[in-house]
């Protein structure tokens, strides 16, 4: 694992340098980390607690715990993974206090997470010569270059992610938003690579389905940067 090479940590000094500077009480280094990571941490915290305000407090408490624990950090995981583990523990405690039931027991896949992720009606039925093959191919989407600029596409994706069950949202947030590897997610959430893949698979298929529906409704209209309200 090479934490430096991971998406999302670009532009930061190496862990070794960061930890050294933090231990030397370098305030600029601390501010840099807070500014770079707090947004993603808040998003993850939001999956555990009831409100945005609670999530902000979880982030704040996490950073305080990081300050207190800095001298104990041994570098066995990346700095960011270590911080995220503290975040998850802090968020779990908080959600228990709030009487929510998100915590770890419910992070495991359930029966609902198995079974087809694409509507079986999209495929030819048994007995057909081409049984199991697409009845009709998925329609092409606008190019990524076009959709990347579209605020509306982002809103659709954000809404779809928000509608996911907590366990799926937590995993897809870490994997696809934060860019963690499956091994790192295992360290942070203590959930096996196989189990998190079940959740990630379902979450991505769901969000893809929502995008497919969206693109079908705006079919033939150009999707571009100038997103018409």
């Amino acid at each position: 694992m090479e934490p430096e090479a991971r998406a999302g940590s670009g532009g930061l000094p190496s862990d070794e340098e960061l930890v050294g500077r933090l231990r030397d009480r370098d305030e600029a280094a601390f501010a840099l980390l807070v500014d770079t990571w707090s947004g993603g941490m808040g998003r993850l915290a939001r999956s555990f607690v009831a409100t945005r305000e609670s999530a902000d407090e979880v982030v704040q408490d996490t950073w305080l715990a990081v300050i207190r624990g800095l001298d104990d950090f041994e570098g066995r995981s990346s700095l960011k993974t270590w911080v995220y583990r503290i975040l998850v523990n802090t968020a779990k405690r908080r959600s228990t206090r709030e009487g929510r039931t998100v915590p770890m027991s419910s992070l495991l896949p359930t029966d609902e997470d198995h079974g087809p992720t694409v509507d079986p009606a999209r495929f030819l039925e048994a007995g057909h010569r081409w049984a199991g093959h697409w009845r009709e191919f998925p329609a092409a989407w606008p190019s990524p270059e076009q959709t990347a600029l579209s605020g509306e596409v982002h809103s659709q994706v954000a809404a779809a992610v928000a509608d996911l069950p907590d366990r799926q949202r937590i995993v897809i947030t870490l994997r696809d938003v934060e860019g963690y590897t499956s091994q790192e997610v295992r360290e942070i959430l203590d959930i096996s690579v196989a189990n998190q893949r079940v959740l990630l698979h379902r979450a991505r298929a769901y969000v893809r389905g929502r995008l497919e529906t969206y693109f079908a409704t705006v079919d033939a209209e150009p999707i571009g940067g100038e997103a018409v309200p």
Binding site: D35, S38, G39, G42, R43, P138, V153, R204
Partner: protein, 78 residues
């Protein structure tokens, strides 16, 4: 005959993108991909979905919380 059907293919995309398929299954996956435009499109859309999710912008910490943290760091005693 070990060819995959499309409805099996779509359930393997995440494992494929993680590089987690065993060699034999990966070979069948790639063989299928080579001749099925529908599955090629599907895999591409899953990639595009993951990429779009990755470009969601995080919410910033409220300024008051940020300032409180910087204060806490400044006053941190060994």
């Amino acid at each position: 005959m070990s060819d995959l059907d499309c409805n099996e293919f779509v359930e393997l995309v995440t494992a494929f993108l993680d590089g987690a398929l065993d060699a034999e299954t990966e070979r069948r996956f790639v063989d299928h991909l080579a001749f099925c435009d529908g599955c090629d499109t599907y895999l591409d859309q899953i990639r595009q979905t993951a990429k779009t999710i990755g470009s969601l912008s995080p919410e910033a910490l409220p300024e008051a919380s940020r300032q409180a943290l910087l204060d806490a760091f400044r006053n941190w005693k060994r």
